[in-house]
């Protein structure tokens, strides 16, 4: 009886995990290649941060260095672009804002495309609604069903924000 139960829950789980590309999702993201030093008058940014923010050009800065137009003040000492600070080789980072910034590096596009082509059904809603590189990185770096073990525990509480394809490393509880 218990076996049956466990089998079923395993099946439930895999529903949301990365799997083969038999039903690739129809993503429509427009990557803006290379020209990240372009001039824009208004920036979207990552909104949520306690101390840090990442703008759509990939700059990370402290909240106090955010300009009225939503962009980081590139001249502030705290600002830097496309930083992968706190990120591990597997593409998982300790700090969300750095994950987003790192993900916005132009050379991350192949990784992201590869992920999108293989993304599981459970992520379909999310990634078909994403429209550009910045939205994709904001969404991809968030913790998700891939980030947990036993539902209520992170796989790796120290590096849970991943721009890469693999889930965070599974640490013992």
């Amino acid at each position: 009886m218990y076996y049956v139960q466990e089998e079923r829950t395993i099946r439930d789980r895999t529903l949301l995990e990365v799997r083969g590309s038999d039903h690739p999702i129809q993503w429509k993201i427009k990557f803006l290649l290379g020209n990240s030093s372009r001039q824009i008058s208004q920036c979207r940014n990552s909104i949520q941060g306690k101390r840090l923010l990442t703008d759509e050009l990939g700059y990370v800065c402290e909240r106090k260095d955010l300009l009225v137009n939503g962009c980081c003040n590139v001249n502030a000492p705290s600002s830097s672009q496309h930083v992968c600070k706190s990120c591990l080789a597997n593409g998982c980072c300790r700090i969300y804002e750095y994950c987003v910034s790192c993900c916005l590096q132009p050379d991350k596009q192949p990784v992201l495309e590869h992920f999108l082509n293989r993304a599981a059904e459970g992520f379909q809603n999310l990634f078909t609604a994403v429209e550009d590189h910045f939205e994709l990185c904001l969404a991809k770096c968030r913790t998700s069903s891939q980030s947990v073990q036993h539902e209520n525990t992170y796989r790796n509480p120290q590096a849970k924000y991943c721009y890469g394809e693999s889930p965070p490393e599974l640490l013992p509880i």
Binding site: Y2, Q5, E6, T9, R11, D12, R13, L15, L16, I47, Q48, G49, K50, R51, R63, K64, D65, L66, L67, V68, N73, A76, G122, F123, N125, L126, A129, V130, E135, L138, A139, R142, T143, S144, S145, S147, V148, H150, E151, N152, T153, Y154, P157, I173
Partner: protein, 1078 residues
């Protein structure tokens, strides 16, 4: 129960018949409406669910108790029609004018309907009753006068099965424990809310007019008529889904499914109902029909959901820039970090989260997550008479235990009992639960958001600030039940529309003398040398998602009001994020007031700063300064014997570990999750001790951290934690020096612990308890020096001790006790055998109670009892506060209770040498949750003893100032002047006050019925038409009636209802321009 009461019992059907019979077709059948609720709902109530599970073991019968009694001196005066309160009062006075020296008054009915015309009045007549009644009867507008009756109804599930060996014993334990339902987040509706609420039914309820739609009761129509209907606001419903073509909804933007069932439709009705309360446009109208609905299906039809589904769905809600999100779900696991972090992330992205506080009341310590979070609007339930619904979860948050003190939750309460909302496919139904209250607030919030011109100002903090600043406090209810009070939509509209970004506090003042609102603070004065009283204030910061406290909060005592007799220490969140943080205020009495008695006042000043988003100057900040008034009552330090110290430090609970229930019979609630605090599930015990004159303080630190010479008795109840070696040594010394100890232990049996493991579907793993009900091996380490020990026996049963009926619910026995001690034994059932082998055995002479005077000069006394269930509020069957009193008489005053010493149940103390003492369960994971143990190669070892908590008292900055006399009326939000935002003169249309004949209840769901406000565009046209027609009918009716009344005073004929209803509309017209009562 009075002598003149009737009492009947029967089945459900009998009950309904009775109800109908009793109401006699004359009185408005209020009950019927609500009664429909549970029968029409597919949700099994917890009771039901349990009943189903054990149905093959024993027969469960739904039993009804129905009783009425005449209320002395109270009479119901029924009129021929509907009249205003003033008119009714005039009629009665004119009728009674001629009776000499009549002593009468009208009993006020304070409910939402009392503003509306009614056809009856309850009158108290104390003198000349008979003649008064006769005179009243003769008045032309008075139809009849009847004695007031109080109706008491209660439903009970009774186990009518045979006791003892039931045929399905072998599956019983396994089956029940396997269920993970209590762990899992559950949807918070109650099919059976009214089952719980029946205790509060009174005659007034039965006679009252029925409020129809919750949106109208909250006067949403005023905002609709101003043109606000929720348009432009994105509202997400996280629930069981919604069918595609439901007739109630006009703006379903998107439906998504996040479960493993391949459907978007609602198979249960829960999600549909919730969506309806928020946005239905017809029949049972919601608050914001034009809002943009986003339906997230995160619950299966079996009410299963997982954290991971929520995580993905929440991410989508962030991407879609949802404004308001309703979560009518909750669970006890506030340590589910991925979930809690995600909720923070949502609110940090400006999603206003509204969530149900839980249906686990009236027990305290039952708040559900995420409603218990500072950044979430947590909603509790009330009924239509403004009583806190019995099911509504309450008590402080338990995140902060043992060292701190819990926050005030819920934030706000609103209607959650018998509320009408959309049915699964069509029509309306009524449901109860905080599940229902939550969308009421979510709908109101959506509607409110649509009224604000500058949407930038609307965020999770400002919305919550507006709701709590405008809420109406309910009398006689404490803040841990009602939060800031009852939702007032129109006042919230006013506050929100004059809102300027600022910080505010919840609660907004600290008045430790104010009862009952500030219970439990008001239940015990403070004194020098006592453990500091901690008030956990929540800072709400509407200025930005992050903020910080500038410099340090300042304590300013008022010198004319003895503020210098108080010491205050403040600790606070280093960063206020998201939108909120804590401000923990510890209050102590200064040494110079050690023998002083009086009231002391002052205030704490806090300045909050947030990055200014609209400031061109980089690094600019907005600041907001808030004042927190403080008022305390100080008494001289009580004598040692009156002071009891409650050990909180050694109580562990779920979450995070599996700490099983203390009563093994409670199989559908396997976890100990209420905090085991004197202000949560030991509340009754605390109240009892206070009423006996004891002062109870809480130890939130190791035993090494208190001055034992100050206390008579240390009370350790149901402790799960281990002990530092230093604690064991210190306690030994303390008891030698005169401190006494009372231990209420509980069961600990490793075989039973293995047996009660279960597979938890939410965490998808096996759960093995880390202790028993209590940690007996650890307790034995603590008390072994006196030659005492508890056993690993597991006993259950009823017995009598000192003429008191007692129930032993899964307790242990005393295995060893000093030979000069007093030991009482009882005959009990061996529950261990029952759990393990499904056999029944009775054991005689089980030592349950021991009393011992330690031998050293001036040494303290020790009392042990093997079960804690009789002083715990959760699942308690029979209380034993008398025993606690007797034990305290013994420990604190050295008075040996003769009823125990001379008891025939006294036995020779057990030496216990024949049996080994219980050992810790091998491979247990207690070290993961313990503050004492840490993992080690081999067995876990104690950590180094932590330092005792140290408070740094704020340097006072005295003021020569006097505090305002009424603290709670002080301005809750700055720059909000209630008079400034004036509501336009709109004609209100009222909830229907039409009485309902028995059997007519179906008519409620007929879409074509004449219901005001089915669809707001229609309303404007239909109502004047009806009003005009109605006026004509009424006029002619009255002419006829008046002429007939003169000749034939008694005329019984069925009332014409609709015209009468419209008549009151007509009567209203002269006042139709008035501003709503705000």
């Amino acid at each position: 129960m009075g002598n003149d009461q009737k009492r009947t019992a029967g089945t459900m059907i009998v009950r309904l018949c009775l109800l109908v019979a009793f109401l006699g077709g004359r009185l408005p059948v209020v009950g019927t409406e609500e009664d429909n609720g549970p029968f029409s709902t597919p949700f099994p109530s917890p009771l039901n669910a349990d009943a189903l599970l054990s149905s093959n073991c024993s027969q469960l019968t739904l039993k009804l108790d129905f009783s009425t009694k005449v209320v002395k001196h109270e009479y119901i005066v029924a009129f021929n029609g509907y009249f205003t309160a003033k008119a009714r009062s005039d009629f009665i006075s004119s009728a009674l004018r001629d009776v000499d020296a009549v002593n009468w008054r009208i009993i006020r009915r304070d409910n939402p309907a009392s503003d509306y015309p009614s056809d009856f009045e309850v009158v108290e007549i104390r003198q000349d009753t008979r003649s008064s009644l006769l005179t009243l009867q003769d008045h032309p507008y008075i139809k009849r006068v009847t004695p007031q009756r109080m109706v008491l109804r209660s439903l009970k599930l009774t186990d009518s099965g045979t006791d003892g060996a039931s045929p399905c014993n072998d599956t019983r334990w396994v089956q029940k424990w396997q269920s993970s339902r209590p762990l899992r987040r559950t949807s918070l509706s109650l099919g059976s809310g009214f089952w719980h609420a029946t205790g509060r039914h009174s005659s007034r309820r039965l006679l009252r007019a029925i409020p129809r739609h919750v949106a109208q009761i909250l006067q949403a129509d005023v905002l609709w008529q101003m043109g606000y209907t929720g348009s432009g606001v994105k509202v997400a419903v996280f629930d069981t889904g919604l069918s595609e073509k439901h007739p109630h909804f006009k703006n379903v933007k998107e439906r998504t499914n996040w479960t493993n069932e391949k459907t978007l439709d609602d198979g249960l009705g829960h999600g549909t109902f919730v969506a309806g309360v928020i946005a239905s446009m017809r029949e049972c109208q919601g608050f914001a029909p034009d809002s943009e609905l986003h339906i997230f299906r995160v619950f299966t039809n079996n009410q299963v959901s997982y954290t991971s589904w929520f995580l993905d769905a929440f991410n989508y809600a962030i991407l879609k820039k949802i404004d308001v999100l309703n979560l009518s779900i909750g669970g006890p696991d506030f340590m589910d970090h991925p979930f809690v972090d995600k909720v923070w992330e949502l609110t940090a992205n400006k999603v206003i989260m509204v969530s149900a506080i839980g249906n686990d009341g009236p027990l305290y310590g039952t708040l559900n997550n995420p409603a218990d979070q500072m950044d979430v609007i947590g909603v509790g339930g009330i009924d239509f008479e403004d009583n806190i619904a019995r099911f509504s979860s309450r008590g402080m948050t338990t995140w902060e235990l043992p060292g701190g003190y819990g926050r005030v939750k819920p934030d706000i309460v609103t209607y959650g009992s018998g509320v009408r909302g959309s049915g699964l496919k069509e029509g309306c139904r009524s449901l109860s639960g905080t599940s229902v209250a939550s969308p009421v607030v979510a709908g109101a919030v959506t509607l409110l958001a649509s009224t604000v011109l500058n949407r930038e100002l609307v965020n999770p903090a400002s919305m919550k600030q507006a709701l709590i600043a405008s809420a109406r406090r309910l009398p006689g209810v404490n803040m841990f039940e009602q939060g800031h009070g009852k939702l007032d939509l129109l006042r919230a509209y006013q506050v929100l529309n004059s809102y300027k970004p600022q910080a505010s506090l919840s609660p907004s003042y600290i008045d430790l003398t104010e009862c009952p609102y500030m219970w439990p603070y008001c239940s015990q004065p403070i004194y020098y040398g006592g453990m500091p009283t901690i008030v956990n204030v929540t800072i709400l910061n509407g200025m930005g998602v992050t903020g910080r406290i500038v410099d340090k909060p300042i304590w300013q005592p008022y010198l004319p009001q003895n503020g210098d007799y108080v010491d205050v220490a403040v600790s606070y969140s280093p960063v206020l994020w998201p939108w909120s943080g804590y401000l923990a205020v510890s209050i102590s009495v200064a040494k110079k007031a050690a023998s002083w008695e009086g009231i002391a006042q002052g205030h704490v000043m806090v300045t909050v700063a947030s990055p200014a988003e609209n400031d061109s100057a980089i690094g600019g900040e907005m600041t907001s300064t808030v004042k927190l008034p403080v008022k305390v009552k100080i008494v001289p330090t009580p004598p040692r014997s009156k002071r009891i110290l409650w050990d909180q430090y050694h109580n562990l609970r779920y979450p995070p570990g599996y700490f099983p229930r203390d009563n093994l019979r409670m199989k559908n609630d396997p976890l100990d999750w209420n905090g085991d605090h004197i202000h949560t599930n030991f509340r009754d015990m605390y109240q009892h001790l206070r009423s006996m004159g004891y002062f109870v303080e809480v130890l939130g630190a190791p035993i090494t951290c208190f001055d034992a010479s100050q206390y008579g008795t240390l009370l350790m109840v149901d402790s799960e934690e281990e002990y530092f070696p230093e604690e064991i040594t210190k306690l030994r010394r303390d008891i030698d020096n005169g401190l006494s100890l009372i231990v209420f232990s509980d069961w600990y049996n490793t075989s039973v612990m293995r047996k009660v493991k279960f597979y938890d579907e939410n965490t998808r793993q096996w759960w093995m308890p880390d202790t028993g009900g209590a940690n007996v091996p650890a307790l034995n380490d603590l008390i072994s020096v006196w030659g005492m020990a508890f056993s690993d026996g597991l006993y259950e049963g009823d017995f009598t001790m000192a003429d008191h009926d007692m129930y032993y619910a899964s307790g242990c026995s005393i295995a060893r006790f000093p030979e000069d001690g007093i030991v009482i034994a009882q005959t009990l059932k061996d529950q261990g055998l029952e759990v393990l082998k499904q056999e029944t055995a009775v054991v005689e002479n089980v030592p349950v109670l021991g009393l011992y005077q330690t031998p050293s000069e001036g040494g303290g006394r020790i009392a042990l009892y093997g079960d804690s269930n009789c002083i715990d509020d959760s699942h308690r069957q029979k209380d034993c506060f008398w025993l606690l009193d007797a034990l305290l008489q013994y420990t604190s005053y050295s008075m040996t209770p003769p009823s125990l010493t001379h008891s025939k149940n006294r036995v020779v103390p057990p030496t216990g040498t024949d049996k080994p003492l219980p050992q810790r369960l091998e491979g247990n994971h207690l070290y993961r949750y313990s503050k004492v143990l840490e993992a080690h190669l081999g067995d876990p070892k104690p950590r180094p003893l932590p330092a005792c908590p140290h408070l740094s008292w704020a340097k006072p900055q005295p003021l020569n100032e006097t505090a305002p006399s009424n603290l709670w009326k002080h301005q809750k939000l700055l720059s909000v002047d209630m008079d400034k935002v004036v509501l336009p003169s709109v004609r209100l249309y009222r909830p229907q006050v039409r009485p309902l004949s028995p059997g007519e209840s179906e008519a409620w769901d007929i879409p074509g019925g004449i219901m005001p406000g089915r669809y707001n565009q229609e309303v404007g046209q239909t109502i004047p038409m009806f009003a005009f027609l109605g006026a004509m009918v009424v006029l002619s009716f009255f002419v006829v009636q008046l002429t007939k009344a003169k000749s034939k005073p008694k005329r019984r004929k069925p009332r014409v209802k609709r015209p009468l209803y419209l008549q009151q509309q007509q009567q209203q017209t002269p006042h139709s321009g008035k501003t709503p009562t705000v």
